[in-house]
Symmetry: C2
Subunit: 349 residues, 2 copies
DNA sequence: ATGAAAGCGCTAACAT
DNA sequence: ATGTTAGCGCTTTCAT
């Protein structure tokens, strides 16, 4: 091997240099001709044709790593969301916008519950994205706790961040999600209109914005309705059965249950049926999310959140952000959920 | 601006150079210390400590673009699959393996039907991945037609390719998927054991390996069972209703229907119920995939394909491949589907 | 135990 | 209408 030739990893097969040599022009010429989208350069038609045809014949593909390093424009976004049917819809929306803007996503799931391992994992994922110089990040926070999180790492590097579905507790950020308060209100209005007054909300507590806000909207309407009232219950795998049964065995048991999401609603449905009660005859039930299930026999009254639209909106916000130099004001898009009445709600008997 | 300083896009904030300067060592030293996983270099403990602490304080993050360009190891994989619940499971499996091997995926969906636009789109996606120098690609082919496809572009560059779910027609490649023949056989055996003899297969034709092989296994068992026989029908949105009704109105109408997937099975179920027949009393019905649905009232007898396992297997195959220099023999992993008997199959009445 | 220097493939400023 | 040159931030070879 000739002196001065240093071997390292994989060398690209066809480079601009190779095209330049074959065309008898310089590297620069090739670079400019191949990248000249808006016809800024006045190269001879002949030169252009030659370069294009050689690039074509050699099946040249630009090295986006190098280009990204040079220009800062990698055309790559980081997306981190939980792995389920709802977020798949969001990712589909993001994808469909990106595909028309030469952008592709590095995808990672942040699935599991909030614990140290999860925190470590998410930080690792953010690092993977940052290291690859994503131009921005779209994510669903697994925790509202800004302090113990990796968001600083993103902000410090001035990487645009779009949050979806869940707010952060104290921080204003670009955000796309559902109108959870309105959703809660609509749930209450639906049940009130069916004659229910004694209700139960099943959620996951105050630290998850989606649960908190749905409960807030729900309670607001009930508080304005004569005689209506609501108890609440925190759905945890270990305790939900006992706590829920306790509620429906009361003398003043609720006649309607509003659950924070479909998953919980389906669990609750099982508990109700196992207790020998029937839905919606004895108890009306509403979920949230319009999420599919494998073996349900019970078409759930629920809320469609239009995940695809959440995705397209987030992607458009992303594209606007990375197209700007300045920071600008915080943007939000709050999408109205849609009540879908199926078979689990009925007039109070 | 000083002469010789050329401005281009975003410059990285903290570089190895910056660390080196602050530590009073060279760039090389920093590079080696920061990358020295297996303790190959014998730098003074003091030097190491200094470099690490500065990197830490400055929140240094390596530029993976540069590293990828240099070494060919980008730690990035391309994944292209359709967007639905089944593939989300596969992607989850891939993800969980990758996360433990410092690998992250560029994800894109190849959703829609096979037409020119789709072909263009998929080629564009492959280019996006190739340009970013993915080390390998995992994908579900949208078409079996190798000729009219972009696979050459992948092979020509010696990028390892793992196919999932669907085979290519004439080409041997690394592959992970379900044992579709066995699935078809199991479906037939289940129906035979329930007393059915007159069956209908609803698929998407011979050019999709999953449909073809499921039908093949199904027919094989029936051909070995006395008096059993099977008609087939191609499920296309426009014609399925008419064709299917034609079948169930025959004098010798089938008593059991095996559908290529759950989606079609659910469509067929609606047609059956609309025709005034009941499931499984008049007609038994089997799907494939164990895919969730939003409003089903009919827990479907179907096959679990273990998408998560398909994903982990594909990811492991991927990692093996990119860890090798040589090409080696084609690898395959065929995963056994599992019959899940729910409420849509019953003894022939 | 450390450094110097070449070079990866490209972009962009500065020429003519 | 095209070329020259200096980088980008790193890895790797070759020295000492």
């Amino acid at each position: 091997m000739a002196k001065g030739t240093k071997m390292s990893g994989r060398r690209d097969g066809v480079t601009m240099k190779a095209i330049a040599d074959e065309a008898g022009v310089t590297l620069t010429t090739v670079s400019r001709i191949l990248n000249d989208k808006d016809n800024k350069f006045k190269y001879a038609a002949e030169t252009k044709a030659k370069v294009f045809s050689i690039a074509d014949r050699l099946k040249y593909r630009p090295n986006a790593l190098v280009r990204g390093m040079q220009t800062g424009r990698t055309g790559t976004a980081g997306v981190m969301v939980p792995c389920d049917g709802f977020y798949t819809g969001i990712v589909a929306g993001i994808h469909d916008v990106f595909i028309n803007h030469d952008t592709i996503m590095l995808l990672s799931w942040n699935n599991r519950s909030i614990n140290d391992r999860e925190e470590t994992l998410e930080r690792q994922i953010i690092h993977q994205m940052v290291d690859r110089r994503v131009e921005g990040i779209i994510l669903r926070p697994s925790s509202e706790e800004f302090e113990k999180s990796y968001f600083e790492e993103i902000w410090e590097r001035d990487i645009p961040l779009i949050l979806i579905d869940r707010h952060l507790a104290k921080i204003e950020t670009d955000f796309v999600g559902s109108d959870d308060i309105l959703g809660g209100q609509m749930a209450a209005e639906h049940l009130i209109s069916l004659g229910h007054r004694n209700m139960l909300f099943v959620g996951v507590g105050q630290t998850t914005s989606t649960s908190r806000l749905r409960e807030e909207g729900f309670r607001k309407v009930l508080s304005e309705s004569p005689n209506a009232f609501c108890r609440s219950l925190i759905a945890q795998d270990e305790t939900i059965e006992e706590l829920f049964l306790e509620q429906i065995r009361r003398d003043d048991a609720p006649t309607a249950v509003f659950c924070y999401n479909d998953d919980i609603a389906r669990k609750v449905a099982k508990l109700i049926l196992n207790a020998g009660l029937s839905i919606p005859k004895d108890l009306s039930l509403i979920g949230f999310g319009n999420v599919p299930d494998r073996e349900s026999t019970l078409p759930l009254t629920t809320f469609e959140q239009h995940p695809f639209r959440i995705g397209t909106s987030a992607a458009n916000m992303y594209l606007e952000r990375i197209g700007e130099k300045a920071k600008g004001d915080v943007r939000t898009d709050i999408i109205k959920p849609e009540l879908i009445v199926r078979n689990t709600t009925a007039p109070k008997s």
